[in-house]
Amino acid sequence: MSTEFVDLLKKYPAGRRENLIPILQELQDQHGYIPEPAVSAIAEYLEIPAVKIYSVATFYNEFRFNAGGKYHFQVCQGIGCQVDGSERIRSELHRLLEIEPGEITADGWFSLEWVPCLGVCQEAPVLSVNGELYAKMTPVRLKELVDKFRNR
């Protein structure tokens, strides 16, 4: 087994499938994504077929196999924001970045994700970039924001 992930894996008992998600979460926290070689390492350690690990990881929103963009956009998908026009924000983001949720732009600058209610519905529609919240978004302000990042 590659020595790279040994320390992380050793924290969990071997051969116990129920630890798969916590392991993936820890990897995701550490690297920002799941490194590909980790898949076979986990498979060996937990004694489950490698494809199962990929299957589980791709099921959940949290896991990704590529590093996120330099600017990671999380757009609120909550109903509060929807009622206040988050759809316009989402379609504008589509237009500006030309990517689907879960994808990353070719230049590696931007990535996109829909997230559940961010809990600030009074300021809807909201989105967050690298954890920083932007409230009362409009397509125009969004474009300005993207341009600002692009020119940094």
Partner: protein
Amino acid sequence: MMIEIDVNGRKIKTQKGELILDVLKDNGIHVPTLCNLEGFKPSGACRICVVEVEGRSDLVPSCSYFVEEWMKIRTHSARVIKARKTILELLLSNHDDGCLSCDRGRWCKLHELSFELNVTERKYGRLTGRKKIDNTSQSIIRDPAKCILCSRCVRVCEEMQYVAALDFLKRGSRTEVGTVLDKGLNYSSCISCGQCIQVCPTGALREKSHLDQVGALLQDKAKVPVALIDPAVFVTLGEFFGYKAGPEFSSILINALKRIGFQRVYGTGWGMEFQAGKLVEMLTERNQEENNSPLILSECPSVVKYISQSRPGLLPSLVPLKPASQIMAHLLREMTSKQTGKEVSDISIVYLTSCTAAKNDTSAALKIKESGFLPDFSLTTREAYRLIRLYGIDVESLNPEFQEDFFGVGAKSGHLSAISGGNVEMLTRIIQTRVPNAKLNGEKAGKLRGIKDVKETTCELNGKKLTMASISSIAQFESYLKEIRNKQKKIDLLEVMACQHGCINGGGQPCRGAERNLRNRTKGILEWDERYSGIQTRDHLDLPSEMNLSDADCKAVFSPRQITK
């Protein structure tokens, strides 16, 4: 407990604990299914098998609900029919339904259902685009655009083959079936057994076709095409033309292939026995020393692949002999070359086989010029049928034909190798006929026959007891290995076939082969054996002196294979 339920207004007696679907089937009521897989736990995913149960607001999938005594079931009410039809229409809305150019075409379950449920228009969605086809493997092609996510392949690959090369990826409307890291089957743990093709209701899975290449070969005047046919194809191919499985069709097949342009047609039987003879020699020697782990037959390429990928520790246990098809390919090249005066490299061997994994071991797949021992191409039973159709051969009008030269097809117990247990039975016969003081214990062959999971037998070789066992499917293999380990069983030789019940159920056989077909094919093989094995003589295995084949030539080397990169 006996109970009585009401189905469509009729009383039906049944047992508590039965699945609704089974009860309906036993009573002659047909309910369509897609994801249900005989012998596996129901997944209840496709919902096409729904029925109406009085008192419930929703419809109930009959494949995964048990009957209760209070049940009043309606299997074909207007509501049920509408639901089934809508479900099918939804499936079709996502489907790349180019049936005309689809491998599965008229054998497609979806196709059949859309007739059955009277679907006459594309109700939802527009034609979907194609998706990226996985053609990384040299044997299995996956076309996700035709996949309806029924999970049958996933379950077979995991539960029967212990391979788990395929699984669901993503979720929601983006769900798909795929391999680890989306790298394709060749980089997965797939062992090319083709069992997934067998259970797939659509054209999403198919073999990598060599038909075009074979077509070109048949037109090439410089080449001498030779057909090499394995016994499973002999007994099965006739099914397509309405023949009963058995010896009948085999001699017609020879005639058909000759008309298509094959200059010579042989079976693999002789090679099987030849290799078995070598194995007996090995066993005789091996018996001298103490040996703990059993020798494992290496005749099945999927088993070899499985071991080299997932159980490399067992590599030394594999019988170090080339498969019979390769020995035959080599000998036939030499012999035909002598007889026709053509170069050995101009003799092209086309291997007709029920095995999808055989495609991996062809020079076409490995893209090598000097074939050496490898067949050039391989065609599955299904492809062989297409070839005959393509060349406009009307098999009904053909006479049986035999090819009675040295490697002739109509003989010997080599045929038995197509069924699980057959290799061991063949071995015991060879031991009996060739080894002066061998004895077959406990009456024998019977124990090895029939559709059973594990078959064990013993015989005496040079005064030593030899224990042999036959199993099929990798799941059986794994659990048997465990049993050997746990119970400290001493087994000398293990025949493992990746396909359940053996090559007659290979991945290249007609799809949707029901249990009944397998029984018939097994019977066909035995019938064939009965008819011809009388010809068997003690020395038919000796090579004619003009041909040479050293022990080194027969040897095979196995090495571990790394899969996920």
